[in-house]
């Protein structure tokens, strides 16, 4: 197993190396790279080059982690399984690069499908578990619905323009109704990006996939949905209306995602919903950029694009850290259920430290990369608030309120993930026997975290380096005071970290001679303290879920104590978190469709004569309709 994946890792490294060189060249020189392979042209402009770098970083981090993660895999795998897994990994990496360098809809469709299928195979790794199988099948089904969208777009464009290159798409959009081509494409991209209400595949799939794959999918693959929206949004000369639609969808996704993250007690599902939130923020910012372009507000546009670019980078790195930590925890304790965890910081300090740092980052708190990536979003939001048009100004209010609410909810979600999962005392025996995996599993995590920290203290530097990307997106140069502001933020973050260090040292000095006694946590003097006396993942989320009940779907199975029941017998309390959309919309829909199909099956009598009758009726109907000049 280990060996096969090591080969995959090396191949992935090679791909990364080979593709990164032209990508960096594009970024440095500002000249687009293009190549003809067969009759197909591949183009990488600065934005594609940036995405290539993001894909490469993410894939390499996942590959490095995967090598060690799979080495400790307790289940025996057959050689076929391992080879399939390794090949799929490499295929996914290559397909993702293919997606961003495609310059026509056909190759986009091929790579898009390759990406879906290879990631489907990766998710299937734990196919022995029913849950993983169900999740994987749901995933591939939904992705195919999305791919149909691309096919529809191909149909429209090729029939009208005789070709499907991106420039023809642009011409088509300019001469026809824009939404005809954009809508089916947007369905595909929104599905991949996990945008509300098409996100329902995401949490299950992320939870079911092995951790290096979930990190890769969450950190990189779903970003390609956003890439598609940006790419084709730009191709169709984005209007304020399109921007507003994206903004609203982004807001809905961000808030829905993070509120549901709070409700989860499965650590990986919690992280997955947090990814939904972050995709929402990215799309919201894209919407903001389009709006700014529509009203010709360059400062806002640049700020919004900086937010998008920095957030893609930040989220890729931090999610790798978090998912890999979750992987280590799953490995050590064999459970993802936060209600079974607790006290891990004593048994798995190495993993929990990274979880803590990642939690700080993903909650966008000062001192982390999340703060600098959300900062430009705030700038664009507040600046939009200050625009003269009332309706535009209100959009600014919405985005700012979303950002701060998402930040506040993220604090609850990640204090839950860390505080309940890793701190306190162990709720079951599992965390007590856990121990940190080999240090090499943490190596890619520290690498990713190091990168994130670098962004945190030098955001201005990144923005300068990515000025080509920003220029490609907005066709505008970065205003100087935006850079200064970002530089100041970076310095401020560095100062914050240093001052924390200094105060900590001072504190150590001041308390060096003071006596320190150890004792149990204060339990009001009761002798028998146990793990039951601790908030659980369910009860920690309870208050939030209660006020946010319209957007969550938590079912409680518990028989209430009757008021007349003075001496209740022991009873149990269980909750189940479901996805509101999956449970209340898609599942009933699926059941409905199934019911209709069942009903139609009556027609399928197996009798040859009735089939002939159907055919005859059909022909008659067609003839009548033709005569009536309907068709």
């Amino acid at each position: 197993m280990r060996l096969t994946f090591m080969v995959a890792c090396v191949v992935s490294l090679v791909i990364a190396f080979v593709t990164s060189i032209p990508a960096v060249t594009v970024l440095v020189t500002g000249m687009a790279w293009s190549a003809d392979i067969g009759s197909v042209t591949y183009v990488a402009d600065s934005f594609s080059a940036f995405m290539v770098l993001v894909i490469n970083t993410g894939s390499v981090l996942a590959a490095l982690y995967g090598v060690r993660y799979l080495a400790d895999d307790p289940d025996g795998r057959s050689l076929t399984e391992s080879i399939l897994h390794g090949t799929s990994f490499v295929a996914l990496h290559a397909a993702m690069i293919g997606v961003v360098i495609s310059s026509d809809l056909y190759s986009l469709f091929y790579f898009w499908e390759a990406m879906s299928i290879s990631s489907f195979l990766l998710v299937l790794f734990d196919a022995r578990q029913t849950k993983a199988r169900t999740a994987a099948i749901r995933y591939i089904l939904q992705m195919h619905i999305g791919a149909v969208g691309i096919l529809v777009a191909i149909g429209f464009v090729s029939s009208a323009m005789g070709g499907v290159t991106y420039s023809l798409v642009h011409d088509y959009a300019a001469s026809h109704q824009t939404w005809i081509v954009l809508l089916p494409l947007a369905v595909a991209f929104a599905m991949k990006a996990g945008l509300f209400p098409l996100h329902s595949w995401l949490p299950d799939t992320h939870a079911a996939a092995p951790s290096h794959v979930s990190g890769l999918m969450s950190g990189v693959m779903i970003k390609l949905g956003a890439y598609g929206l940006i790419r084709f949004g730009l191709l169709t000369d984005p209007s304020t209306e399109l921007g507003t639609v994206l903004l609203v969808i982004g807001i809905a996704t961000a808030l829905f995602g993070i509120v549901n993250a709070i409700g989860q007690r499965d650590l990986k599902k919690l992280l997955a919903y947090s990814s939904v939130e972050n995709m929402g923020l990215i799309v919201m910012s894209v919407g903001m950029a389009f709006i700014a372009r529509g009203i010709d507000a360059p400062y806002i546009e640049i700020a919004a694009w900086s937010g998008v670019v920095l957030h893609i980078l930040h989220h890729m790195l931090i999610k790798a850290v978090l998912f890999q930590s979750a992987g280590n925890i799953l490995h050590g304790t064999h459970t993802r259920d936060l209600n079974n965890l607790g006290g891990l910081i004593h048994t798995m300090p190495g993993t929990v430290n990274l979880l803590l740092l990642g939690g700080l980052g993903i909650s966008a708190l000062p001192g982390s990369s999340g703060f600098v990536s959300e900062f430009p979003m705030y700038i664009s939001g507040i600046k939009t608030m200050m625009m003269s048009s009332t309706s535009i100004s209100m959009l600014g209010v919405f985005s700012v309120v979303t950002l701060c609410l998402a930040g506040g909810f993220a604090i609850i979600a990640f204090t839950k993930a860390i505080g309940i999962g890793a701190l306190g005392t162990a709720r079951t025996k599992a965390p007590l026997t856990a121990h940190d995996p080999h240090w090499t599993t943490r190596f890619p995590q520290w690498l990713a975290f190091g990168g994130a920290l670098f962004i945190a203290v030098a955001p201005g530097m990144f923005i300068r380096a990515l000025s080509g990307v920003l220029y490609g997106l907005s066709e505008k140069h970065i205003p100087h005071d935006l850079l200064t502001t970002l530089d100041t933020v970076g310095i401020g973050q560095a100062v914050l970290i240093i001052v924390v260090g200094i105060v900590w040292l001072l504190r150590m000095l001041a308390t060096r001679t003071k006596p320190v006694a150890e004792g149990p946590t204060w339990g009001c003097g009761f002798q028998e303290g146990d793990a039951r006396i601790q908030y659980t993942a369910t009860t920690y989320a309870d208050s939030t879920i209660e006020i946010m009940s319209p957007v969550t779907d938590v079912s409680v199975s518990y028989r209430h104590i009757d008021p007349a029941d003075m001496f209740p017998r022991t009873r149990s309390y269980h909750t189940e978190e479901k996805d509101l959309i999956a449970n209340k919309v898609f599942d009933p829909l699926a059941i409905g469709v199934e019911r209709v199909l069942r009903a139609l099956a009556v027609l399928q009598s197996g009798n040859m004569r009735s089939y002939i009758l159907y055919a005859f009726v059909f022909i008659v109907v067609v003839v009548v309709l033709t005569l009536a000049e309907v068709l």
Binding site: T390, S391, M394, E546, I547, S549, P550
Partner: protein
């Protein structure tokens, strides 16, 4: 000056969203009546004595004093203090009221009519919807009444929003308003009083054992 009254009026709507004691609701109704008079007084440029006395009677006397007093009497007589039967939590109710105000604002903003005064329009539309919302989500008949009265206030404001040039419309609205108010009053005194008195008798029976 008008701005202040309008904003104070919208503030009372927010307060309605979060109030859970009936006496508070009644007090807010009184305040709204007085605010309405102030707004009308400022908003209507040319008012003759007849119109002014009309408005005075309608807002201060009926809306500000009479109806709240009647409601308060009903409450006291029946010893109900608290609105307990909500179909939504208070948090959600306040959230909905806020959203109603924001949406009314957007609506008002998207109508381009030279005669329309956006501030009044926002406040009146919000009041209408808040009134409807109260009627929809509360269970007690007396709260329904309060909801209708808030709705009435909204309609009064609506007549101001379009009515600077149309004193006739204002007067008609006021007349209609008066009529409904009187009808409501009659209803309150007769029906509600009756129902609650029987409840009271029932309570007294229970006291004995």
């Amino acid at each position: 000056m008008e701005t202040i009254f309008i904003i104070l009026f919208v503030l009372t709507l927010l307060y309605i969203g979060m109030a859970d004691r009936l006496s508070t609701l009644v007090r807010i109704l009184g305040v709204q009546g007085i605010l309405l008079f102030a707004t009308a007084f400022v908003a209507l440029d040319k008012v003759d004595a007849l119109n002014l006395s009309f408005i005075l009677i309608e807002t201060i006397l009926v809306k500000g004093l009479l109806i709240p007093a009647m409601l308060r009497r009903t409450l006291q007589r029946n010893g109900i203090v608290r609105e307990t039967e909500h179909t939504v939590t208070q948090f959600q109710s306040l959230l909905v009221v806020t959203v109603i105000i924001v949406l009314s604002f957007i609506l008002a903003n998207s109508i381009h009519q030279p005669h329309l005064r956006i501030g009044y329009f926002t406040a009146s539309i919000s009041a209408v919807f808040v009134g409807l919302f109260i009627v929809m989500t509360r269970m007690k008949i007396i709260t329904h009444m309060i909801g209708y009265l808030i709705l009435e206030n909204g309609i009064f404001l609506l007549s101001l929003a379009v009515g600077n040039e149309m004193p006739l419309a204002v007067n008609t609205a006021i007349l209609l308003d008066l009529l409904t108010s009187v009808l409501l009053l009659a209803f309150l005194v007769d029906k509600v009083g009756e129902t609650f008195q029987t409840v009271n008798v029932h309570d007294l029976n229970e006291l004995n054992d």
